[in-house]
C-alpha cells in the first residue's frame, strides 16, 4: 500500500489542515474536527449539519458553503463521527431556526447522530433528522439495518440547502430532504476494492475478470460478483436495478459518480451509456453530475444515482451553490 499520507493515524487531521489552507470560505476546527462556513450562522436560517466517515471526499466537507451545508463532521476513515462533533457543529450553526441532521443510513452514523440529537434536544435545540437510504443493492426490511445511504446524499444536501437558504422553516427543509431521498435510487459497481490506510490491504479481492455488483461505499463487497463486461452492459445492469426498484420515467437528475480511482474519461463513457439506457426507458437526464462526489478512497468503478424530479426539486437544484465541490449560479 502506497498512500500520500504522513501516517495512518493523522490522515484526517492532516487533510483538514489542507481543507483549511485551500478554502478561505471555510473555517476548520481541527480539534473537534468540524468544517463550517467561514461566514457563520445566518439568523433565521435552518442550519444543515452532515457528517460521516472520512474517505468519501468531497462528501461532506466539500459541500459546505452557500446553498448547501453549514457544517460537516468527518469521522475517522469509514467510521462515523462521534456525537460531540455533531453537537458542537449544531450549536455553532444554529441561527435560531433549528438544525437539520442529514444522516446516511449506517448503524454507526445513525447511532452517533441519534445520541447527538438526543443531547441537543435535552439542551433545547430544535433538531430534525433525515435518513438517506438510496442504495437499491441492499434489500430493505424491518429486521435489517435497511438500505445504505450513498449518492443521494449529494442531492439531499444540495436541494435541502437551497431551500434552507430561502429562510424556510425546519419542518419544510426536512420535508424536502425526505422527498429527495424518497425519489432517489443508487447502484454501484466496483472494478476494484479499496485499501484503508489502517488495514493496508484491499477490502476484498477481485480477479482481473470480475466486478462486484451492488458494492457499498466503504469497500463492502456487494450483492453479487459477476464477470467484467463492457461499459454498456455494466450500465444496463445498474439501470435495471434502479428501474426494478422505482421505474424510471420523465425528467431525472442523474449522477455518474467515480469512486476515487476511476479516470474521468471512463466516467464520461459511462455517462453516455447511462443517458442512453434512461432514454430507452423514456426518461430524460435533464440535469447531471459526472465526477467524483462520493468516493471510497482509491476504489475503481462507478455508481449511478437517479432522482425523479419535480418542478420544485429542479428549481432548488438549479439554485446557486458555492462550495468547494459544487458551484454554480453565483
Amino acid at each position: 500500500m502506497k498512500k500520500l499520507i504522513n501516517s495512518a493515524e493523522s490522515v484526517v487531521t492532516d487533510a483538514l489542515r489542507g481543507v483549511a489552507a485551500a478554502h478561505p470560505d471555510l473555517r476548520v476546527d481541527p480539534g473537534n474536527r468540524i468544517v463550517f462556513r467561514a461566514s457563520g450562522p445566518r439568523p433565521g436560517k435552518v442550519g444543515l449539519v452532515s457528517g460521516g466517515g472520512s474517505g468519501h471526499e468531497p462528501l461532506h466537507a466539500g459541500f459546505v458553503g452557500y446553498g448547501m451545508l453549514d457544517a460537516a463532521c468527518p469521522g475517522e476513515i469509514f467510521t462515523s463521527p462521534v456525537p460531540d462533533q455533531v453537537i458542537e457543529a449544531g450549536a455553532a450553526v444554529d441561527g435560531g431556526a433549528g438544525v437539520l441532521h442529514i444522516v446516511k443510513n449506517y448503524t454507526g452514523d445513525v447511532l452517533n447522530f441519534h445520541m447527538a440529537a438526543e443531547l441537543c434536544a435535552e439542551e433545547g435545540m430544535q433538531v430534525a433528522s433525515v435518513l438517506v437510504d438510496d442504495d437499491v443493492a441492499v434489500r430493505d426490511s424491518l429486521h435489517t439495518a435497511g438500505r445504505r445511504g450513498t449518492g443521494a446524499t449529494v442531492f439531499v444536501e444540495k436541494i435541502a440547502g437551497a431551500l434552507a437558504e430561502t429562510g424556510a422553516p425546519l419542518a419544510e427543509v426536512a420535508r424536502v430532504a425526505r422527498e429527495v431521498n424518497a425519489r432517489s435510487r443508487s447502484f454501484g459497481v466496483a472494478l476494484s476494492a479499496c485499501t484503508t490506510p489502517v488495514s493496508g490491504k484491499p477490502t476484498f479481492e477481485l480477479s482481473e475478470t470480475e466486478v462486484e455488483l451492488g458494492v457499498g461505499i466503504h469497500g463492502e463487497p456487494g450483492r453479487s460478483r459477476g464477470p467484467m463486461r463492457e461499459a454498456r452492459e455494466l450500465v444496463r445492469l445498474a439501470v435495471d436495478a434502479l428501474h426494478e426498484d422505482l421505474p424510471v420515467s420523465g425528467d431525472v437528475l442523474v449522477m455518474v459518480n467515480g469512486m476515487g480511482g476511476t479516470p474521468l474519461i471512463e466516467l464520461y463513457v459511462t455517462f453516455a451509456e447511462v443517458a442512453d439506457a434512461l432514454a430507452d426507458r423514456g426518461a430524460r437526464a435533464v440535469r447531471s453530475l459526472v465526477g467524483d462526489y462520493v468516493t471510497s478512497l482509491d476504489m475503481q468503478g462507478f455508481s449511478v444515482t437517479v432522482c425523479h424530479l419535480t418542478e420544485e426539486l429542479t428549481r432548488l437544484w438549479d439554485a446557486p451553490v458555492q462550495t468547494p465541490a459544487l458551484r454554480w449560479g453565483r
Partner: protein, 213 residues
C-alpha cells in the same frame, strides 16, 4: 470488589485490543469495513487514559467514564453500543465504593439491555449481542444462586462467562447477519465470525483476568 479490578479490567481490555487489533480488523474487512480493531484501540486507549487522568472514585463512576469516553472517541457502530453498555453498567452500580458479585452481574445485565435497546439486535443477528448475552446470563445465573460469591467462585463464574462469550462469538460464524454493515452482504455474511462478537468475548475474558490477577 473495590475499584481496583475495574481499573485492571480496562487495562486488560486495552492490552488485548491492542494485541488483537489486526485480527479484529481482518474480521471486519471480511464482512464490514476494516476498522473495528482501530476503532476499539482508539477507544480503549482513550478510556484508559481518561481513567488515569480523572481517577474516578467508585466502580460506577469508572464504568460511566469509560462509556462516555467510548461514545466520544470511537464513532462507528461499536462506539455508541459499547459506550452505552459501560454507561448503563456504571449507572447500575451507582456510587457505592465497593460492589458485590450480584451487583456486577446486575450491572452487566443493564449494560446488555442498553445495547439491545439502542441497536435493537436480537440473538442470532450476528452481532456483539450473540457473545454478550450468554456471558451475562452465565454470570447472572451463578450470582443469582448464592448470597454472594467468594473470590474463587466469582473467578470461576467469570471464567465460565468468558467461555460462553467465546462460544457465542464462534456461533456467529454460520449466522446470516441482520444488523450492522455485515447485513448488506445477505447470505454472503455466512461463514465469517462477527468482529463485534469477537471483541465482546475479549472484553469478557479481560474481566476474568482482571479479577484473578
Amino acid at each position: 470488589m473495590d475499584i481496583e479490578p475495574f481499573r485492571l479490567w480496562i487495562e486488560e481490555i486495552a492490552g488485548s485490543v491492542r494485541a488483537e487489533k489486526d485480527m479484529l480488523t481482518r474480521l471486519d474487512a471480511a464482512i464490514g469495513d476494516a476498522d473495528h480493531g482501530a476503532n476499539l484501540e482508539r477507544g480503549f486507549d482513550a478510556a484508559l487514559q481518561a481513567v488515569r487522568d480523572r481517577a474516578p472514585a467508585t466502580p460506577g463512576a469508572l464504568l460511566t467514564l469509560v462509556g462516555t469516553t467510548l461514545i466520544r472517541k470511537v464513532g462507528g457502530a461499536s462506539g455508541p453500543l459499547y459506550g452505552t453498555a459501560f454507561r448503563e453498567a456504571g449507572r447500575a452500580l451507582g456510587e457505592a465504593p465497593a460492589v458485590s458479585a450480584a451487583d456486577l452481574a446486575g450491572a452487566l445485565e443493564a449494560g446488555l439491555a442498553g445495547v439491545v435497546k439502542l441497536g435493537s439486535a436480537a440473538e442470532g443477528d450476528k452481532t456483539m449481542v450473540d457473545a454478550l448475552t450468554p456471558a451475562v446470563e452465565t454470570l447472572a445465573r451463578a450470582a443469582r444462586d448464592r448470597d454472594d460469591l467468594t473470590g474463587r467462585e466469582l473467578a470461576e463464574a467469570l471464567r465460565a462467562a468468558a467461555e460462553a462469550a467465546g462460544k457465542g462469538a464462534e456461533a456467529t460464524i454460520p449466522m446470516q447477519a441482520r444488523k450492522g454493515r455485515a447485513s448488506y452482504l445477505g447470505p454472503r455474511s455466512i461463514g465469517h465470525r462477527d468482529p463485534g462478537a469477537t471483541s465482546a468475548a475479549l472484553i469478557v475474558s479481560a474481566l476474568h483476568r482482571a479479577v484473578t490477577r
